[in-house]
Symmetry: C3
Subunit: 256 residues, 3 copies
């Protein structure tokens, strides 16, 4: 059985500590996919939620100081029971606060996968040319090398999104082509991808590198298919949720 079918059968509970900008899109995306979202970022309960969830997603999009504490509690709680933890270092290089917070989480939690873009990777890896602005697609050879080094340093998977996605465990690297430029026109596409990757990992921890690559590939195909029927960013977002629901489902009829 394909991983997406296993995911839809098991409906993993995906715990998200995420930003308030994309929380709704992320929750609806996980539901559409076939997973069960639980959005809980309070330091008072992060540990408890992570314990009952099948994976935790740590997204620093609208970070506050106490959210960092919640992330560390949640991350360690999830890992203590062998569940995957995905870190999404949104805009890691934009401010010293973000960068320091990301490095603190990486230092204190045994992260399973970092899902980022090239600029965020450069910030984590402390690459000087990042400060001048890094776009996906530029210096791709270097990006793979930096991703591998980062994966080895933190003993985790690193997935870098762009025109071509890559995911590496520090030794092997898989590349995923496809996708569509429309995916860059709405907010939260990267954040939702991190959650989707977490859902795939929740049911695919026997082969995590392949599970992550499966998620990235599924997502790019969903973007391609959605682009065919979308006339602008407004309906692209709506249609993308529909596609997450139907893609690779035997019946293409909603709920059938």
């Amino acid at each position: 059985m394909q991983l997406i079918q296993q995911l839809r059968q098991r409906q993993p509970l995906v715990h998200c500590i995420t930003n308030f900008v994309v929380a709704n899109f992320q929750a609806n995306g996980l539901l559409a996919l076939g997973a069960s979202p639980v959005m809980a970022d309070a330091v008072e309960e992060a540990e408890d939620i992570a314990r009952i969830a099948d994976c935790s997603i740590l997204n620093i999009g609208t970070l506050k100081q106490q959210t960092v504490d919640a992330m560390i509690l949640a991350g360690n709680s999830a890992r203590a029971t062998g569940k995957p933890v995905v870190l999404d270092p949104v805009g890691a290089g934009a401010t010293p606060f973000r960068k320091a917070s990301v490095l603190k989480v990486l230092d204190e939690v045994d992260i399973t996968l970092i899902r980022c873009n090239t600029g965020e990777l450069a910030a984590i890896a402390d690459i000087p040319w990042a400060a001048k602005g890094v776009d996906a697609g530029e210096g791709s050879a270097d990006i793979e090398d930096i991703a591998k080094k980062t994966a080895r340093k933190y003993n985790c998977l690193v997935a870098v999104s762009g025109e071509v996605d890559i995911v590496t465990d520090g030794h092997s690297t898989l590349s995923i082509t496809g996708g569509h430029p429309m995916m860059t026109t709405i907010t939260g596409m990267g954040c939702l991808l991190s959650s989707v990757t977490g859902a795939f990992l929740a049911v695919g921890m026997e082969r995590p590198l392949e599970a992550a690559a499966d998620a990235l590939s599924f997502y790019k195909r969903a973007g391609e298919q959605t682009a065919k029927t979308s006339s602008g960013p407004g309906d692209f977002a709506v249609n993308f949720l529909n596609t997450l629901h139907t893609l690779d489902r035997e019946s293409k009829t909603f709920l059938a």
Copy 2:
């Protein structure tokens, strides 16, 4: 005049202390229905907003400690002037923090109606089998009994959502059938229902049990009608807002 017509004429101001995941959907749903939303969860102003609003909705979806304080201030402010207060105990059984917070609000505020699902009801009533996971539809006879006991204990209405909704004042119980499984595929449908019920109560406090039942019935019919024209969870959410606007309106043309 039907309650929904009264609601659209009076456009009650519905104060929501709610979670950041569904706040946008909840506000747009109330606007589409014909009510006026005001989303204000700061402890600095919760009391003032509740005083000028026609009802207050307390939703613990992404609770923080200080939100509990805001809820108690708002709830007591609303009740002091006879306005209804709806409690939505989202995931009450998921963590000790949520359960303790819900019980604290119930202890300190004279809640008008608890709008919950079976799992949340079980958590509030401290029913041990809740811990094993409770789905709507299972053990419905028991659910009615627990709902009635909870209503008597807190001297409030209790509405339990599921394939069949029930609402009780502890003595009489009304059942509402209908709805559609698509309603379970997007986030915030329960949260919005709590707000909609509050809007109905704001104009129907002469007969609150019937007003709550009216709201539940209206909502289930809106779900049924929306399902007919929706192909997935993305457009279901969009179309549901349209339906909230047109259902039981004489003119079916937007703004006409």
Copy 3:
């Protein structure tokens, strides 16, 4: 070249300190328009983000005490490098906390433009009849006078939204007609307008009054065009994002 074309070419980075109800709609609206949103409200980084952004938007929709501090830090950081700062005093008259916060921000930050409705303007100007409820359209002659006085008092532009929008620098006043009543049926339309105006100012600070009027006019036309193809508030919101993308673009095909 028209301002909207300059905006799409330069893609200004628009920093929003905003409420959690509309953050998603606001970010997607800015992206659709052709700007780059960055939503960051933490006091820990507000100053840093404002420094790298092309303008900052301060929206008090779901204000907390520490957000006021973040706004002052961000506002002064933006102004120190000559970037425009837009203040959106959402519901300024609703509670003493909101009014005091707005006056504090106006006192401590050299605001470029206040974008508000008539009720909010009245609250800022301390006009007694505001307390009885002020609707757009009533007493429009007085509104212009109050707007001009407010503009002179705070040495800024004041834009007041309504059936007819006005914008003034305290001396000259421009009026913008158009728009559509559907624009009042979804949450966040005013909040997004403030951000859009900020994006126009970011590329039009040579003639700020005209840039603001351009933004108001563009937005009203977007509403009119969207209304033609929308059947309810649900799809109006979706279609409005599409329109923001295509309006005044040579190619009407998404991403072409």
